[in-house]
Symmetry: C2
Amino acid sequence: MNRENRAVVLLSGGLDSTTVTAIVHSSGMEICALSFSYGQKHTAELEMAGRTAEKYLISEHLIVDIDPEPFRGSSLTGTGRIPREGITAEIPSTYIPARNTVFLSMALGVAETRDAEFIFTGVNAIDYSGYPDCRPEYIDAFQKLADLATRSSVEGRPIRILAPLMHMTKAEIIRKGLDLGVDYSHTLSCYSPDLNGRSCGLCDACRLRLEGFRKNGTKDPAPYV
Amino acid sequence: MNRENRAVVLLSGGLDSTTVTAIVHSSGMEICALSFSYGQKHTAELEMAGRTAEKYLISEHLIVDIDPEPFRGSSLTGTGRIPREGITAEIPSTYIPARNTVFLSMALGVAETRDAEFIFTGVNAIDYSGYPDCRPEYIDAFQKLADLATRSSVEGRPIRILAPLMHMTKAEIIRKGLDLGVDYSHTLSCYSPDLNGRSCGLCDACRLRLEGFRKNGTKDPAPYV
């Protein structure tokens, strides 16, 4: 396959990245899935990422360990409390310093070594938690950086960062995924699932997700406590 | 100390980053030194980084492990041959995909969690190997990304990326370091030192370094084979 048919997909195992994987897969592209183990409390999402990689017969699924030290200070990796009161106008404590910048940087290295033209990320800025590194202007800035950062780009083979969910509501994302046959019982969005992998239903990620299914008139197949 | 007196310094243990560390130290800033173990052949540079951290009484020296998988394909981490014929107009095989982007991304996370206003990097674009991610336009693009990427920046506490050596020749960098009392015997630039930590004298990094000392009329105190 040529490079325009190869993509690195950032696959956390959550609802958004799994939907993106289904979208890219339906286009017939060859996928390298990239997941990260970075000390997140919700490592069960990595199992879900593995199931998605199996379902779509993805030939290469990298799970990269990242030292959690630089991410110290987020309730998602540290000892802080995950907020359950609902989404506010502020950036929540689950924000992880520079997370998407680190993830996209790694993806850039992987895309260049695999000679893949595309990097797909599931970030979106409609029904989201307010993280700064999920906004369209952030993705645009990363594209400008990528155009200068790699030998591939400098030599006329640019790597393109695509965020197909950016302007979709959570309900629209779920609709798209259901149309493509995504099994959402094999995705995990919750920031603090219990030991059996059941979602809390109260954290920001659960609230956005449940509302998305409600608006589609369907029930979320994932287990809740 | 306030955030304007705190800096994260990318310290590889080479000539450039050690000089930057001396510059930042001489300004009286509190330093968090950040080094990476990423499968490089020249891990002896990390020992040098440790010596520099000791010399400048740096209170926090992080050595972060990075999975070398995304960097596959460089002669600096893989099985390829390190070029010894001298510097050409092309990007050499020692180029590592997205390396500086990954390093700066990690530094951004560390700077935000430590509430440090500055990130210092030793990249320079005069006497260099032609890597795309060492050019001023690349650093400018990373600054624009950083301004959008972090909670800190969004809330009015920007993190600034500084590359004080950017427009200096290797000879000027060495002159500056000597003035500040840098002991260059405790730095390693060579891409393929022998098991005793002696430099080869022939790789691009050695050639640039030796020429820099020669122009200063002094001998490089580092051991060569």
